[in-house]
Symmetry: C2
Subunit: 310 residues, 2 copies
Amino acid sequence: MKYGIIGTGAIGGYYGARLAYAGKDVHFLLHHDYKQVKEHGLYVKSYQGDFHLPHIHSYASTHDMPICDIVLVCLKTTNNHLLPSLLPPLLHPDTLVVLIQNGIGVEEDVQKQFPLLQLTAGLAFICSAKTEAGVIHHQSYGQINLGNYSCRNQALIKSLLTDFQQAGIEAQEVEYTEARWKKAVWNMAFNGTTVVLDTQTDQLLKNQITYTLIKDLMLEVIHAAKACGAGNITDEFAQTMLDKTLKMPPYSPSMKLDYDFGRPMEIDYIYSRAIQMARKAGYPMKKMEVVEAALRYKELRHHLSSSPSK
Amino acid sequence: MKYGIIGTGAIGGYYGARLAYAGKDVHFLLHHDYKQVKEHGLYVKSYQGDFHLPHIHSYASTHDMPICDIVLVCLKTTNNHLLPSLLPPLLHPDTLVVLIQNGIGVEEDVQKQFPLLQLTAGLAFICSAKTEAGVIHHQSYGQINLGNYSCRNQALIKSLLTDFQQAGIEAQEVEYTEARWKKAVWNMAFNGTTVVLDTQTDQLLKNQITYTLIKDLMLEVIHAAKACGAGNITDEFAQTMLDKTLKMPPYSPSMKLDYDFGRPMEIDYIYSRAIQMARKAGYPMKKMEVVEAALRYKELRHHLSSSPSK
């Protein structure tokens, strides 16, 4: 089994490194960090124990990579327009592509780019960050859920689950729609609010008024999920997510980091698509619409203030 | 007719000065600006023409003021706990007190402090600011609507309307509940959003996404008003308010100024009371709950960062 990792950052770097460390045949696509990682390898500083991979198969272009059986796409969704040029060199007819990405509607759009491709969603429950070139800081959790979108070869998913487990990664298969919406419960509640209020997860949960806000936002996602066909997520799941977050270190969600570092935010897939889908299904996400509008406004202002013409 | 002005700022300074300039007998309570105004009088810089009142009846305490027939209370609602000590020296049994203040629920609470007092709501549609001690900058509009809450002597309201009109102030009587909620349409849409997004009215209306947000927030207030017994405000009123705001200069609502200058924000009366009242009436203001929570969080953070212990 050959693995391709597209995007060797906080997520791709972590899961790819774990697989490689367990002896799997893993090939990493790098961009800015290519030279550094080629020379010094990948470091993972993990709360479960640090490790170093001095030599990994690293590449600056997918044209130099081998054809892979499983490709983990770990790009930000804001880079998904690159997939039509990045992916083809890695594919054979039975390749499974796992989109370890945030949001609702990602598989739908990638499937339009590649109608025959076997796609599976990867939902990572992990606090992880790339702190410098070639260094991944794995702060807590690490579980990954797989939700099959269009994979015809179920054996591939089974192999992937086995390999993850052998690499020390908790992994399980879950129903696709439910998996995506379950992840959205946390993502939609915390990503936008930390940007709009310029804060971290722990601060929001320390105050009763924002604790209630976060819980209400989570419940809105759960009810939207129900309207969109993911009927098995109970209201109690909001409490589970709150309790999990309370056990995490003070955390900046990916959108907060993107905003702070001037990178594009994943507003489309983390907010807009879900909101549109729920509205079509008859459930307007009124609270999330406020968060979405505030984010769009902040993005616009951020962009204006950092543009060289101003 | 003797007039008392409690709070000679952007609102009380403006309306009081107009009445005095028209020859009415007006007595002003001042606080920080007492000495300056005693010496130099009040300046009004108005888009309708500037004027100066070199000598006004100014006081540092209501104990020095005459008993008044009409008292205009123009304090921030965050100072309403001072009314039980400020008001009594000004009152005779037939005095009318007009609360030219923001929000929903103000009359209810003041009536509890003074069960027999005749109260009327004053709803000011005005862009005005105190730019320095004794200087009021009247930027646009200026209309005032009166909504009778508990005034038994209708002739008093008629006299006040006549005096306002003689002073060049557009004034009319409107139904109380409708008047309060109509004002809330603009106030709830703009006050919190300009604080949370650190911006002004014009910027919010320039962008399609925040224009839509503001309109949706206005419609939420209109529907809440309906649930609370103010059924005559049509959805078109939102468009009227949007169009009016588009004609205003770039404007910082009072809550934005309060936040920027480290003063307490009127979250209770501008947001919380209205939200609670609507919820009780069966209409949860879901979007406003997000704005309210964001404001409470910002208030808390602001307070922490400006407290000397940190």
